[in-house]
Amino acid sequence: MPESVVHVNELTKIFKVPERDPGLRAAAKALVHRKTREVHAVEAISFDIEPGEVVGFLGPNGAGKTTTLKMLAGLLYPTSGEARVLGHVPSRREKDYLRRMTMVMGNRNQLQWDIPALDSFELYRAIYRLRREDYLAMRDELVELLDVGDLVRKPVRNLSLGERMKVEIVGSLLHRPQVLFLDEPTIGLDVTMQKRIRTFVAEYNKRHGATVLLTSHYMADVEALCKRVIVIHHGRILFDGALASLANEFAAYKTIGVLLENGNAELDGYGEVISRDGDRAILRVPKAETSRVAARLLSEHEVLDLTIEEPPIEDVIEMVFAQSR
């Protein structure tokens, strides 16, 4: 069993936020008595990530995903608990640790706005103390993998959102980090660009054996990249396991798609009809009854085609959240 790259044990982050009622009276009162409220952003979460794993970190807005990532990247001090990444305690922000990890925040610009990305890359080379030959080799590899081409010669302010994201990623990986924290790297991008970045992350993981913890609201990202997912809600982990087993564990139903010879056949007695288009119908059926319903359909109707599927991953995630309420 290899040593974990990321080890998290009972990690907790509580923010104290000021709070007061509206109006002049409340404002005057707040001068002498400042009220604060504790927000438990992350509550005693534990998990381990092995070398080379790509793990999806899922949850709705405010679930605690980004807070966790920021603690692991050394941006936030945990309130309690333990975090170790590559053997380092992230909050100590040791240089040896920072040289071995990166965090990419979607929609956030870290490159210098007014100058071409190449100039910022040069700066990163100096900051990460890279040998010139290593830097050039890595830069050219990333530029090729992300198909960035001459975009690196344009001032960053002149790039589109997708182009900017690609050059941001190049800049974040020039030092060949072993751990990648990707916080919604595809947010706001069009489908083609999302796919490009997904392919890139997969290729980078394959080439360099990097460990990746990824948050995304796009399930296509997660399905394409992550065999394992961690689902977090209200700061607590609800699920940690294989993406494939998520539906098994949480989905109470499966969907049966059926193409019938007779488009007028009555199907209400088999399950909930969620769509009907002439000869085609999709039924939602309790998981335990799937085989029996499928057998009945095949025996009682002229069936041209029949498929049994897990519900879409988005629906399964919603079920996980619903069950946690």
């Binding site: 070398p51 922000r93 920072l98 925040m105």
Partner: protein, 280 residues
């Protein structure tokens, strides 16, 4: 499963730091050259302040028989023209900009990199100096043509001045960065910054040469950092200071830089624990 990736080999620490300063300064020059016209207007606006002081004090000097406290109109001209260079040299990453840096998420990006945060600002603004000094030269020539400065520095004074303007830059950088840490506790750190600026205005020699201030103010100024960021560098070039005074002045700059650095380091360690990475 893929094998664990190996980190890239690194260059030596000192060599890399020198490399970083060179690269960051070049980057700064490249960025500033993008906004040549804006920079020029900025500088012209900045020159307005000492020109007003210069006109006022030169007029008063003439009305008092040509000098005040022994400072002639020509010496006032020298003082305030050198002032314009010193002012440009001691522009640093100001305390209020820390709020911007936090709010815009830039700090989070800087924190992800294996480099002391001070180096970014010191190197960036050091690079900027080369652009502003190049732009300042024609302005200085024009001011000299109009106000006829009385300026005859020795070789030693010129050397001390060159060192002192960088010393002023360091002292001011440390204290501004330390005040900038207030932004981790309050979103209204600007109020303290304003108080700092008002004190600096009076006790640094920015508003008026310290020689014109009452004796107790001059003594107080000796024991505070402000004088070493304005008055000392200017006086080192324009007045007749002894070698001992010049060297003591440089020593005071080293001391205040060290004090500022220690204060910043303590404040930074406490501040970073409070960082909530909002905007990041």
């Amino acid at each position: 499963m893929s094998s664990r990736a190996a980190p890239l080999p690194e260059e030596g620490r000192l060599r890399s730091l020198v490399d970083f300063y060179g690269t960051q300064m070049r980057t700064s020059v490249v960025a500033q050259l993008q906004y040549r016209v804006a920079n020029y207007f900025y500088m012209v606006g900045m020159v307005a302040e000492p020109v007003i002081y210069l006109v006022v004090w030169s007029t008063i000097a003439r009305q008092h028989g040509g000098a005040i406290n022994g400072i002639t109109a020509g010496q006032f001209a020298a003082y305030y023209i050198v002032w314009t260079l010193v002012r440009n040299m001691n522009i640093v990453f100001g305390a209020p900009f820390w709020e911007w840096r936090i709010r815009e998420g830039r700090l989070a990006g800087d924190l992800l990199r294996p480099l002391n945060i001070l180096h970014y600002d010191l190197a960036y603004f050091a690079g900027w100096k080369f652009v502003v000094v190049a732009m300042w030269l024609p302005i200085a020539i024009a001011l000299s043509a109009v106000f006829h400065p009385d300026l005859h520095p020795s070789a030693l004074q010129i050397v001390v001045f060159i060192v002192a303007i960088w010393g002023a830059y360091l002292v001011r950088s440390m204290f501004q960065a330390t005040i900038g840490m207030l932004n981790f506790w309050t979103t209204r750190g600007a109020a303290v910054f304003d108080l700092y600026m008002a004190t600096e205005m009076l006790l640094s020699g920015r508003l008026v040469p310290l020689r014109l201030m009452p004796g107790w103010v001059q003594t107080l100024a000796d024991f505070l950092p402000f004088k070493w960021t304005f008055g000392f560098p200017i006086e080192s070039l324009v007045s007749d200071m002894s070698t001992r005074s010049l060297l003591l002045g440089l020593g005071a700059q080293v001391m205040w830089t060290a004090i500022g650095y220690v204060l910043f380091t303590f404040a930074w360690r406490a501040a970073i624990k409070r960082f909530s990475a909002v905007g990041a």
